[in-house]
């Protein structure tokens, strides 16, 4: 395998948690709900996916249950910010704490303190005949685990949904100008709740990917900031599915570079190279702040009886 293919394979593999978490964030955000619980919900997804896979013997069941666990948190976020009109950031942070605690708690309750952590089989590679034979890119993209294909197809589907269907148009209207959408008969509450539920489910799935592809087991802190980076990525991708995809490739490349440069022993202290993804992200969001526009009503709750224009 050539060096370029090897690097590309690592990047594509590392992209998936970013794509899933960021598209999930985007989906809720386009309807106006700014989710900040990613880091916790991803940890919960990782913990649940590992534990359920271990106990049920099926990684698919593990993935589905992780998705559902995330969806429950999305439901709380959606209901608390629409029906109860609580502050989105405060509810999001509370859910972040609860999910972080729950992730560790579940692991400790089910596994306890183990010297030799139990392992689950990681997701199998599914080689797509024909496409996988394309030079350089083929093996990197088309000889991957199922979630890679899922993440890529999901991004395409979300793009189509948002920009080529009337449902997507209504969804975007809720995040841009809910008063207008409301006056035309779009339910702000149900749109926001449904997108939050699906979005949080995807975020948890992004977390589930980490144990089921990389390690085969759950450890605390394994999400390692990817949840927060996913928020940055969503801003960088201007809350559009088609830009989040290349953005995720960039974030994944930073992560891979940070690890590979450490291995190759370039003469910079490895601690500083480990900072690369975060520092690069700080620089990147400066660029994003210049050109990327967020949904106009992002982070704000809608009150039909409000007298202000928006």
């Amino acid at each position: 395998m050539s060096n370029a293919t090897q690097f590309l394979t690592l990047v594509v593999t590392a992209m998936v948690p970013f794509i899933l978490a960021s598209q999930g964030t985007m989906l809720g955000g386009r309807a106006g709900v700014f989710n900040v619980s990613q880091e916790g919900v991803m940890a919960l997804g990782a913990s649940v996916a590992f534990l359920v896979s271990l106990k049920s013997g099926s990684t698919l069941v593990g993935l589905v249950v992780a998705l559902l666990a995330g969806a429950v948190f999305g439901l709380v976020l959606g209901a608390a910010t629409t029906n109860l009109r609580l502050d989105q950031f405060v509810v999001g942070l509370a859910l972040f704490f609860a999910a972080t605690g729950l992730a560790t708690l579940l692991y400790k309750v089910v596994i306890g303190v183990a010297t030799q952590p139990p392992l689950v089989p990681t997701l199998p590679q599914w080689r797509i005949p024909g496409l996988a034979s394309i030079p350089v890119v083929g093996p990197a993209v088309f000889d991957q685990n199922g979630l890679v294909y899922f993440a890529l197809l999901l991004s395409a589907a979300l793009y189509w949904l948002l920009y080529h269907t009337s449902l997507g148009m209504r969804l975007r209207a809720v995040g841009e100008n809910p008063k207008c959408a409301d006056s035309l008969g779009v339910s702000i509450t149900s749109t926001r709740i449904v997108t939050s539920v699906i979005g949080s489910g995807l975020i948890a799935l992004g977390g589930a990917y980490i144990p089921l592809v990389y390690t085969g087991t759950y450890t605390d802190g394994m999400v390692a900031g990817r949840g927060w980076l996913a928020i940055a990525l969503t801003f960088f991708g201007a809350w559009r599915p088609q830009f989040i995809l290349p953005g995720a490739a960039f974030f994944a490349a930073m992560e891979v570079l940070a690890l590979r440069v450490q291995v190759q022993g370039i003469d910079i202290p490895h601690q500083f190279i480990g900072m690369l993804p975060y520092v690069a992200t700080l620089l990147i969001i400066i660029v994003a702040a210049r050109w990327a526009r967020a949904p106009a009503f992002l982070g704000r709750n809608y009150d039909r009886e409000s007298r202000t224009a928006l």
């Binding site: 109860l84 950031f89 609860a98 900031g225 601690q271 982070g299």
Partner: protein, 354 residues
Amino acid sequence: MTSAALAQLNRPAVRRSATSALSYIIAVLAAFLVTGLIILWLGQDPVTAFRSILTTSFRTSFGFVETLHKWVPISLLALGFTIPLLSGKFNIGGEGQLLVGACAAAAVGITAQGLPAVILLPAILIAGTAAGAVWAGIAAWLLVRFGVNEILTTVLLNFASFGIVDYIASEVWSDPAAGHPTTIPIADAGLLPTFGAPPVHAGVIIALVVALVAMLIVRRGTAGYELRAVGANPRAARVHGVRIAGVAAAALVVGGALGGLAGAIEVTGVYGKLIEGLQTNYLLLGIIVGLIARGNVVALPFVAFGIAVLEVGASAMQRTADVPNEMVLITEALILIFILASTVVQPRVGRRSR
């Protein structure tokens, strides 16, 4: 974006008295009720667990001192979260600010051997405070100059700070005998004085003074008034000549300084050196306290003490009732959610909505 929350935060003290206290009590009881049900479901005894959680801090003097020592960073980080929150900004970077503060404190304490305590100790505390302010200052600058969301930048700076701690503790002043990234001890003259037995370090007094000064400034000072004005209604504040971007940035820097001070106190008061991971979960606890206190700087130190009691009790609970200590994090999140929910249930006289 947050003015609805801040309308809740800044409600006049009169109206938040009786009903508010009652709703707090109900929220705490409800959170414990749910926690108890979860513990029962786990097959453990909730009564034993709760007894450990609530009484460990008061049963022995060691427990009480440990609680006081935990209270210091929790209350400082909670204040560092609350001051920017009053201006409508979320400082989620307490962890990074604490860590760079601890790094700076360790650097001064290790390199300036031989200085007398009257110079060295203030120098260490000032270095830590300044480092925290600079670290938050990066986020403040990005916010003012480029309009970058401060939640993101402060969080990313947390992760960036881990590298600095690791570098200092395992390359620059590493103590190879420790077996974990740890620096060599700082000069003895740089250690905070202690009093009583078991010893309580003077950081407790520093944190008390900081809490009192913060109360005075936020409640009575001009700066505090402008801060709350920006948070409650940025447009009105700007019309009346408050430089809102400057106030928000200054609030973030002050918040960072408090985090840095907390880090310096951990180094000079608790560990006497820099140890990787000394921040434990203080960031989460600080934010929880800040959100539960809802911008009330008078209530904040008391809430912080309550959370410190829960945290000290949590590790005891893990031993006595075999319930993982993360259970307490869930209890705290539940308290927060129930308190939030109670604001909806409470009759809202003259509620402003957007």
